[in-house]
Symmetry: C2
Subunit: 236 residues, 2 copies
DNA sequence: CGGGTAGCGTGAGGCGGATCACAGCCGGGA
DNA sequence: TCCCGGCTGTGATCCGCCTCACGCTACCCG
């Protein structure tokens, strides 16, 4: 009884995810027993690289960062994901170990789906498989851009690219430009751009002096997108 | 008549790709009219970044490199693909522009499939969609490793990682270690590791002097995999 | 209140690797 | 045969950024 109420709740929660919204009621109720819910407060680790894969996580609300360790013990951020995204990537459907550590950047609500149940559902439902395929493709594109970004030699270019990338995916139009509300520390921006904390501090300082960005209360506003784009293209 | 013979040939060619092998005969013959074949000699460009997407390319034999330009005009290689892989990634199913330039590293045989036909097939055939999903996931994993690799500061580590990565995906067991037969120039290795040609020359020279690798005739042999792995882990 | 911690800004200095320059080598074509 | 263009090795130089070191502010918690 109680169990059924719970399950009903999961189906409602699943419906709110664009990926699952088009599914038939019957599919959802069949999936429900394989779903759990979880929250993760800002700053907490959701799972660590190397732990055994327990479920595919669908992000209902909040943002997370996905990161790995480099040989010299620094943290390299791979990407930042938002509502509607899922992780780890579906290569983990077969089990194994999480390929990267995932941390909540904001308070997060998650739905965890069993591996086997999801695999079955994907096999039965071509539309869903196709939808997830496209979502994966988006991630792939994203990573390709990150590879190019990291290959950039000039630090100004790297940082400018990172900011634009973040703004595109996680920004909100606000007063006087795009606003970035993730409260990323300089350390986290450094981990994203593959550089040192102090270098971020300096580069951001320069951008601020030049009027490209403005930072207040840990959130960041892009004041002059065109100029930032120029910086990202290596013009000075 | 001739047309039918051609199509029969395509279905046979498609069968040889692991992705398409499990398909029903009927599916294949339905797909056949949407398939063309193409070869690309070593060194030739298959398509360029920015050109309009004409088809999804399935690599039957040979290897290709996928690369983008950086802000300062250097070429950054994203990945090297082999038989059974396809490109561009499926985000391009919706059309648009190629996200990266693809060049043949060896003489290549390709099968080109129309976007719309492939999308239809994927929608109808969940198993195929799932199989391609897993292939994409593999690529994603690959790119994550590349991001970590590029974030590495020490050049020795970056190069060692790149060599191991290449060996895993494209190496052959040979006399006295894994053999890499792609005849990559130092310039191409530099583009892969995001560094300068001269630095590759020096680093590879060091590896050779230390007995980790051996290069002959442009092909490369990994003599001491354990030691190379140690170098990749930052031990000296 | 005061100490402890996390994050930010900035200076000084050293170093790894990018860059420039050049020489030797090979293969291919006239 | 001789050239010429592409690839490789290596030396010399130079500079961007990493590193180290420190002071400052804010905030939390006892």
């Amino acid at each position: 009884m109680e169990r059924r109420a719970e399950q009903h709740q999961w189906t409602r929660a699943l419906r709110r995810l664009p990926l699952f919204a088009p599914l038939a009621e019957e599919e959802l109720t069949r999936l429900a027993p394989a779903v759990r819910s979880r929250t993760a407060p800002r700053g907490s680790v959701i799972f660590r690289e190397g732990e055994e894969v327990a479920a595919i996580h669908f992000l209902v609300s909040g943002r997370v960062k996905v990161a790995m360790m480099t040989a010299d013990g620094r943290e390299q951020t791979l990407t930042i994901l938002g509502p509607g995204d899922f992780f780890p990537h579906l290569g983990c459907l077969a089990g194994g170990a999480y390929p990267a550590t995932t941390t909540a950047l904001e308070d997060c609500a998650l739905l965890l789906v069993d591996l086997a149940a999801l695999a079955d559902l994907l096999r039965r439902n071509g539309d869903l498989a196709l939808a997830m395929l496209l979502k994966m493709a988006q991630r792939l594109e994203d990573l390709q851009q990150r590879v190019r970004e990291l290959a950039e030699r000039d630090l100004r270019v790297r940082v400018a690219r990172a900011l634009l990338h973040l703004a595109d995916r996680h920004g909100r139009p606000g007063a006087g430009g795009l606003q970035l509300d993730l409260r990323l520390t300089h350390q986290e921006l450094a981990s994203l751009t593959g550089t040192a904390r102090e270098s971020i501090s300096r580069t951001l300082g320069a951008f601020r002096r030049e009027g490209l960005v403005e930072s207040a209360e840990g959130s960041l506003v892009i004041r002059d997108r065109a100029a930032l784009q120029a910086a990202a293209d290596g013009l000075r």
